[in-house]
Symmetry: C2
Subunit: 408 residues, 2 copies
């Protein structure tokens, strides 16, 4: 096994016995930023002398660095401690049509980020080669031994334990392909693989609009529709790794065939592909003169065209977006009753359709769910946009390092 | 504070420092039964000398007792250890129309059980008085200082942290009534309160058909319809304690008003009350001669009458049950896609309608969910029936004792 630059990987296993407390200290610094030792002692409910020993051990491992003393409040002076600047994580977000890689510090703040067009349907080998090339590029200017681990998101169900996609419908050639083991072997680093919507949920929870929310749904509306589920602060993956696959929930009678072979699925009635299809039909038939013009000019219509047409005042496009928001709201109202989340974050390409879509989703969801289940609910747009995935993937890598990842 | 017999409560707090391991040992014995020390060491991945010390400490506290040596396999002889017979828990299941109390040993096996008709609508005071009377009766023949804690289920949403019902629709007078604190004060014991469907899910997971299942839905079909959710081995309660309230998911256009004020809810179209209502209509109109006869004879129809009529060959009753199973299957198919559970357990009074209902639920759920989400799914009837609740409540009490309850 070789590392990125051929050296031996940095030894970072925590000493036995103390390890639980050391992990709690590291996780707290990661999630809250630098803190006074006295604060750590108080909030982790561990004696000051124990925390002093833990911090000393973490400093020895160069995971933590001491800063200056905090302003005195009358008691013993306390020092600020923070994560070592030599800690780095890598987050990889493999989308259906894009590939993004982010390099983060120990706090999972993105220090460097690259994104390029990609096609997951080309199969695993070329995509993984490009991933390695981008990682090599991003880590050129740092000591590569400071990279602790890599998190990877893929656009399909994942067997989390095995680090492999499982029967992913839009990823030909990836089924059971050992993403984790191959990347790990090639780069000499621990790799953790998860579904792309799951890592987006983790990203928004760590650094975005859902910071610290324990019960959360992240709904991605892209070409298809998927949902990341956080229950009690951690991802709920389900027994086959396909929890959150809400795109094939039946929403109405329909004659349109979904790629799953059924009709009336949320994803075949709404989502990027469905919206483009319905807009094209409205343009062809002349039902919308606006869409007809764009179609004639460009030869095809995308979901973005519908968004632009709606903003420009095309009532047919506005109706298409409202109809989609209603279908999604219908599904979400059931999930709100079932799951009782504090927050639903709406992300993915179609979330750029703007206020109209979110407003429609809110309207139906709040109207149809029970009053108690919506009493503290908010439905909001993603804050991190395209970087939610890489931040969440880096979070996953840090969880693997801390040894607290749930082995589902 | 007084205990049941006026003495001081037994001191059972675990010594600091070691407590995490001691709790793991206790939980393992509770869930797996008596084990060899060598087995504990292996399965908990703790050194044999550490386990020996832990067991000695637990014996000193009279939480664990040593049995005879296990058959030699060539190595060091190992002793069987088990939970002390002096450990007891109490499980209380407050239903809409019944009150059940169970006394269990440390393994949560029911040693004694009483159940009586009750009406939760009479308000908290009389129901809690009867609960205390039943507990007093059940604990008459044991040393009451051996009772470690009490778990209580109530038929409505619960703020788990506060131990109080929250806006429970069928429990007038119970809203924010401090069930936990009052019972705890009266009996001098730790009390934990949860929703009744949640404790049933825990019961089936600990001792029933869902033993050890990490991702599980328990669907109770009684007068109303509710769902207990287990994610990654623990209850998902949601931010307001009302997760699993699936009875108000919209299933179809309807003119029947639900008690929630909307129409088309699962609960107003199916469930005990809905089935009785629809059967009465079919009896009155003469659509079913069978139901008409029973109605004339008894003056009213219940869900059980529909079950009996179906078994006796009444096609209208069979159709009513199938229709209900289809509506429930429609909701469950969406939840299977969303949650990807390993198992759905169907319990509650209406589950006694038998194979026809379960078969219909299975048929729709398997047909409409994605192949991956159903690849390891089973949909089965509750095994513990009326005792699922008290066993789950006792489990909750044991979790509180072990200090591992998630403070949602």
């Amino acid at each position: 096994m070789t590392t990125l630059d051929g050296g031996a990987p940095r030894r970072l296993s925590l000493p036995e016995g103390q390890s639980v407390d050391l992990r709690l200290v590291l996780a707290r610094l990661r999630d809250r930023g630098p803190q006074a030792v006295s604060e750590l002692s108080e909030e982790l409910n561990v004696s000051r002398s124990k925390i002093d020993r833990d911090v000393a051990e973490l400093v020895r491992l160069d995971l933590v660095r001491r800063g200056g003393p905090t302003p005195s409040t009358g008691g013993r002076p306390s020092r600020i401690v923070g994560l070592s600047p030599t800690l780095h994580f890598l987050g990889v977000d493999i989308g259906a049509t894009s590939l993004a890689v982010g390099l983060t510090n120990g706090y999972l703040e993105v220090a460097d980020f690259v994104e390029e067009a990609s096609d997951v349907r080309r199969g695993p080998e070329p995509v993984i080669e490009r991933t390695i090339a981008l990682i090599t590029k991003l880590t050129k200017s740092i000591d590569r031994r400071t990279v602790i681990g890599i998190g990877v998101g893929v656009p399909g169900p994942v067997s989390f334990r095995d680090g492999k996609p499982v029967a992913p419908p839009i990823m030909p050639g990836w089924d059971a392909w050992p993403v984790r083991d191959i990347l790990s072997q090639r780069l000499g680093l621990p790799v953790t693989v998860d579904n792309d919507v799951n890592i987006m949920a983790l990203g928004e929870r760590h650094a975005g609009v859902a910071r610290g929310v324990a019960d959360l749904l992240f709904v991605k509306i892209g070409t298809g529709i998927g949902c990341g589920i956080i229950s009690r602060g951690a991802i709920h993956r389900g027994v086959n790794g396909c929890a959150g696959d809400i795109g094939h929930i039946r929403v109405r009678e329909s004659t349109t065939l979904c790629h799953c072979g059924r009709t009336g699925c949320l994803e075949s009635e709404f989502g990027g592909a469905a919206l483009a299809r319905r807009a094209t039909a409205a343009g062809r038939s002349g039902e919308s003169l606006f869409l007809n013009e764009v179609l004639t000019e460009k030869g095809e219509l995308t979901a973005e065209d519908v968004g632009r047409a709606s903003v420009a005042g095309d009532p047919v496009s506005t109706q298409l977006i409202r109809d989609g928001g209603q279908l999604l709201g219908q599904v979400l109202s059931g999930l709100v009753n079932f799951f009782n989340p504090l927050m639903i974050v709406v992300g993915g390409g179609l979330s750029k359709l703007g206020h109209l879509l979110i407003a429609e989703i809110r309207s139906v969801t709040f109207n149809r769910s029970t009053p108690l289940a919506t009493s503290s609910l908010s439905i909001v747009a993603s804050e991190l946009g395209g970087q939610a995935g890489v931040i969440g993937a880096a979070f996953l890598a840090s969880e693997t390092f801390l040894g607290t990842v749930w082995q589902a």
